[in-house]
């Protein structure tokens, strides 16, 4: 469905993209996860054909984006991060207008607009000017406006940045539904929770490069970060940790902390507690060291995902 290979883009001396490549299959939910300035927006801008890459190739639905931008644009829907609507027009007028840009018969657009208004619970308010809407209502129309031409592919560039929790939940609901309905989605974010929650596959992007990609499990397997049960004990009994550490095949001790590495930390936890009790170790704290996208990112780049 989408093939992106070796995208390069620089702004002056800033190399924003430095060889981005990925493939997305039909109906897949692909996440681009990376910190601010990683190149997410630049990638989305190129894919939505409002920015020309210096190099690289993009094939969307079998069309070469650079050669046939119009064909590509016809199958793409882009949900802008900011609310981009005409405030003086009503919701229905807005939807009719944005739909009319896609060479669909007016009757079809109207039908579709009404469907979307009903879906988003705004049918009753369809004739009111958008400027009279609450933030959440505007956001719904903002999403609906990208769906009028029934795109096969949806781009969302950090749709939840700087918005209230209620609107965020609304966006989550909508995109989950769209995903269920089989839409192919590219979603960028710097929140690992969002990427973990929605994405079938994730590309981790940093400094204009995709440094790792795959399903969440694949990424976890690839990383050298291992999950562990971490035991903190009374200093007085810390010496006895050595005994049980020698019993666990992959473990280490730092002062009064012992790391028991394991592929299945939950199951192994009780075993480890039992061992501690037998050795007479007074446990102060037990925690899991989990691998998540945050730690994977830290492992890969030596940086925090968020600063």
């Amino acid at each position: 469905m989408i093939h992106v290979s070796n995208l390069q883009k620089s702004f002056g001396h800033v190399q924003a993209l430095n060889g981005i490549s990925f493939n997305i299959t039909d109906g897949e939910f692909y996440g681009l996860l990376g910190p601010n300035g990683a190149g997410k927006t630049t990638t989305i801008s190129i894919l939505s054909s409002i920015l020309k890459p210096d190099e690289g190739e993009v094939i969307i639905s079998g069309y070469n984006l650079l050669k046939n931008p119009v064909e590509c644009k016809n199958v793409i829907g882009v949900i802008p991060q900011e609310i981009a609507l005409y405030n003086e027009l009503s919701a229905l007028e807005n939807l009719m207008f944005w739909g009319s840009l896609y060479l669909i018969p007016a009757g079809t657009i109207r039908k579709r607009a009404i469907e979307l208004l009903q879906l988003f619970g705004l049918f009753e308010r369809r004739k009111d000017k958008v400027k009279t809407y609450s933030g959440g209502m505007k956001r719904r129309i903002n999403i609906a406006a990208a769906l009028l031409h029934k795109p096969e592919i949806l781009f969302m560039d950090e749709p939840t940045v700087g918005i209230d929790p209620q609107s965020r939940n609304l966006i989550f609901e909508v995109i989950e539904k769209l995903h269920r309905d089989g839409m192919t989605i590219i979603y960028t974010t710097h929140y690992m929770e969002e990427a973990e929650r929605f994405c079938d596959r994730i590309g981790i992007i940093d400094n204009g490069q995709i440094i790792a990609q795959g399903t969440l499990n694949e990424l976890k397997m690839e990383t050298s970060v291992k999950e562990a049960v971490v035991i903190t004990c009374e200093l007085a009994t810390a010496g006895r940790l050595n005994e049980i550490i020698s019993l666990w095949k992959d473990s280490k001790r730092i002062d009064n902390k012992a790391y028991f590495y394991s592929g299945k930390v939950r199951e192994d936890m009780s075993k480890i507690i039992q061992l501690c009790n037998q050795a007479g170790i007074e446990i102060l704290n037990i925690e899991f060291q989990k691998t998540n996208l945050e730690t994977i990112f830290l492992d890969l780049t030596g940086k925090q995902l968020r600063d």
Binding site: S45, S48, S49, I50, L51, P69, V70, K73, N74, I76, V78, P80, E82, I83, A84, L85, Y86, W98, L101, Y102, L103, A145, A146
Partner: protein, 419 residues
């Protein structure tokens, strides 16, 4: 309170933009207006006034008279055939034409009234008035040097007595008149005796272009001048709407759609044109209803000027906007440019009362061409096939097209660059 004031002043002094708007721009505008109103004397009188003269007498005397007029510093005499001169006046290129009729030499010899006529455009009454005043001393001196001496003597007497009370003057006048009459069988002018004192009557004044209905030049000036200036303000607003769309993100959304980016600009241009045409029509219809501007009779011409003006002005609106990437960057500048253009182009005061160099400057403004074309239609009543009129329309279309082309280029460069 004092501290707050001091802080404000400090901030003010640091803000160059505000400083510019507060001090530099008003000074610049005042200078401009002062020039426009001719209030500034640059050394000598820089208004060298071009006066077409037609010599129908073609005598030694008439040629002598023209030479004499040519010695006037403020005048630049251009001899022209009568029809050409009248045409120039009718088309608004000249204010008036001085005609030395046949019989000029004879009258001079006989000491009669000189057959001199000034045919002019009523709209330029002010200029013609000033012209008349500068012509009369020279014209009235002509008989003394070339004409009948006795007659001249009589006139000289008249002049000498000019300061005395009317009663004495009249008495002296009649005495000398009868004296000269009896002595030299001289020809008494057909006018009454007083006319000798009335210098104005030395030149026959004829309005070549004048009000046929209520369409006075003042009304046309007011309507056309205001209409074009206000139009410029509104189209600048429409043009800047494009920048608003960029800022509000709707432009980006438009670009996501399969619509050709150029068409977004063309759409703006079209809507600006439609609004401009409506605005101009409403203004002229209002002037027609409220002030009796004859828009019915001049409708075809008016429509042509409105279309051309709307086209040129709309282009100007998007042209202005295309140089910036945000409204803030261009808003102040746009207002300034429109004010300056309106001032030099004759929206505020008629171009023809401005000094000559300002009149030459006027051609760089849209206002000038449009207002002149409106004068052509309503005042000079030129037919729509008239070349002078058509050339103004052509220039408006040319201005519009050039600005549209430049705007398109700049739009691609500035506005379409979405960060």
């Amino acid at each position: 309170m004092k501290r707050i004031a001091i802080k404000d002043l400090k901030l003010f002094l640091k803000d160059r933009k505000t400083m510019l708007i507060t001090f530099a721009i008003p000074v610049a505008l005042i200078t401009l207006f002062a020039f426009a109103f001719g209030g500034i004397n640059t050394g000598e009188d820089d208004r060298e006034y071009t006066l077409p003269i037609t010599d129908l007498d073609q005598s030694e005397y008439s040629k002598e008279a023209i030479l004499r007029l040519d010695t006037l510093k403020s005048l630049k005499i251009v001899e022209m055939p009568l029809e050409q001169a009248r045409q120039a006046v009718r088309k608004g290129n000249e204010d008036g034409v001085l005609i030395l009729h046949k019989g000029f030499a004879d009258s001079l010899r006989d000491g009669g009234r000189l057959p001199v006529e000034l045919q002019y455009d009523q709209a330029k009454e002010m200029q013609i008035g000033m012209l008349q005043q500068s012509l009369i001393p020279t014209l009235s001196m002509i008989p003394f040097s070339t004409g009948d001496v006795k007659k001249s003597m009589s006139r000289r007497f008249d002049k000498m007595m000019a300061g005395s009370s009317p009663k004495i003057r009249e008495e002296v006048n009649t005495q000398f008149d009868s004296l000269f009459n009896s002595v030299s069988r001289g020809i008494i002018p057909e006018n009454n005796a007083n006319s000798a004192f009335d210098f104005g009557s030395e030149i026959k004044m004829t309005k070549l272009v004048m009000a046929k209905d209520k369409s006075s030049p003042n009304l046309i000036q007011a309507v056309a001048g205001t209409a074009v200036m206000m139009l410029l303000f509104s189209v600048a607003g429409i043009g800047m709407g494009l920048l608003d769309e960029k800022q509000e993100g709707t432009l980006k959304r438009l670009l996501y759609s399969p619509v050709n980016p150029n068409k977004i600009l063309f759409g703006k241009i079209i809507s600006a044109n439609v609004i401009s045409i409506a605005q101009l029509l409403i203004m002229f219809v209002f002037a027609g209803i409220a002030f009796g501007l004859d828009i019915i009779r001049h409708f075809p011409g008016m429509l042509i000027v409105i279309l051309a003006t709307a086209y040129a002005c709309s282009a100007f609106g998007v042209f202005l906007a295309s140089f910036a990437s945000t409204r803030q960057q261009v808003q102040g500048l746009a207002t300034l440019i429109i004010l300056v253009m309106s001032a030099i182009g004759g929206s505020m005061i008629p171009v023809f009362i401005m000094p000559v160099f300002m009149q030459k400057l006027a051609v760089i403004s849209v206002n000038y061409w449009s207002i002149q074309a409106f004068y052509d239609v309503f005042w000079r009543a030129l037919p729509i096939t008239d070349l002078t009129f058509l050339s103004r329309i052509l220039i408006l279309i040319l201005i519009g097209t050039i600005m549209n082309v430049v705007a398109l280029r700049m739009y691609r460069k500035n506005i379409l660059r979405i960060a």
